[in-house]
Amino acid sequence: MAVTVKPQTAPLDVARIRADFPVLSRTVRGKPVVYLDNAATSQKPRQVIDAMRRVFEEHNANIHRGVYEFSERTTAAFEEARAKVARLLNAPSEREVIFVRNATEGVNLVAYSWGRENIKPGDRIVTTVLEHHSDFVPWQQLAKDVGAQVVVVDIDDEGRLRRDQLSAELRKGAKLLAITHTSNGLGTVNPVKEIAAEAHAVGATVVVDAAQAVPHTPVDVQALGADFLVFSGHKMLAPPGSGAVWGRTALLEEMRPFLYGGDMISRVTVSMTEWNELPWKFEAGTSSYVDAIGLGAAVDYLTDVSLERIHEHELSLVGYLLPRLGEIPGVTIYGPKTLESRVGVVSFNIEGIHPHDVATIFDREAVCVRAGHHCNQPLMTRLGVPATTRASFYLYNTIEECDALVRVVHAAKKVFGV
């Protein structure tokens, strides 16, 4: 297995980047931490931590309705964060960016608000076996409630979407295509642009789960041609509690709100309510405005470093790791074996050792990886395994950390005598 990466951009100054992340200099049981669980959540640079702290210490106040300076400053910072997200995604308008807690809430917002009005009995919802539970269970439950049908498109043995099958299913008709941009279980990147065009050709609305895409690669909603796109801030250097739904204005305008309450209204009488304008119509109650401001700071950080370069950096790590891990006897790697259309996620198993035992042994060496089904149970069933061990990279990871991972694989094998 020979994989190489031809960098298009200057390599990252990883040492400088690492210095921005306080947690990365910590030790666990005396050993320097090797954090390889970035697909679950990312670490935070001091720029983000400080942006949040500054709100609390300098001008905290509730947003949007305060006629005083603190409130105006906090509102401005919050809405500026929205503008940053809009620019990051190349959204046509900031009004199309709705802050939510996480990608999961984002999918649910679309499922409740758009789905319940638009999916009818007998309608077909096409999705894939790569989906995270968060982009699967909401559609499964919606389908159950309205009597629609969920069609799950398969992958090939390298973990790539069966494009033939997907096309065939779309041709049979679909009201909705719910597709992950990037698989958190295997690292596969789906050709969403082509797929979205096919879906639109049959009149389907396209929801893209970009939870693993926005943190790691440039994502342009206009170029993709999606109708809705969701992601979580906590996987992209921002705090948990931040995230967004992007949606086309025309769709969002038509949709009924999802959550009802303060701030999303324009006028309430005892008998009726008028909704606020976009995007606030979808933001009921006090937003997680400090988390959102943290997301704004994270977007700045990622943009400064450059998502293109981050992507290349991660691929260079995968390119380094794949052959070294793959050559270890008893190691099975799941997902793409090449660097094409791929991100820095490496899922594997060691024969004779359960992934949970692998992770425990890794933990003893301060190497943090995830073991389990990764909220991908249908995918695990497809792969025929109960669980995998997953290492996932980000901008601050290094070649040395790949070496550490390989070392602990050998150590685990030694402990278990396999």
Partner: protein, 132 residues
């Protein structure tokens, strides 16, 4: 303290110019800011493309009422096209006081109603179907 509530602002607030129903109005538009309860109706008498007369009826804060009052003084005699061209920055500049972000909506309510009237709208595009 007085940088915002200058005498002429308070004067326009307390003695609004061109206030009250306009008889023979050709264009009328009502708007409001439910968040603070400001209400504003602008009425124009347009003849031969010119604003022959303009009145407003409103209630609300000093900023919204003074801004509307100042605006009515300005547009009298203007062509309809000139009225349509008045923009937000112009109104804010004309007010002559610093308007904080939270109060911009107040300052522009008169303009919004004026534009609605000038364009002959019955509701702002996009807002007709908002109520559910």
């Amino acid at each position: 303290m007085d940088d915002m509530y200058r005498d002429y602002i308070l004067d326009h607030y307390k003695n609004p110019r061109n206030f009250g129903e306009l008889e023979g109005a050709t264009h009328t538009y009502h708007d409001s800011n439910p968040l603070c309860g400001d209400e504003m109706t602008m009425q124009l008498k347009i003849d031969d493309g010119h604003v022959r007369d303009v009145h407003f009826v409103g209630k609300g804060c000093a900023i919204s009422q003074a801004s509307a009052s100042i605006l009515t003084e300005e547009v009298k005699g203007k062509t309809l096209d000139e009225v349509k061209a008045i923009d937000r920055d112009h109104v804010l500049a004309n007010l002559g006081i610093p308007i904080s972000p939270a109060r911009v909506k107040c300052a522009l309510l008169g303009l919004k109603a004026l534009k609605g009237a000038a364009w002959g709208l019955t509701a702002w595009p996009g807002e007709e179907v908002k109520a559910k």
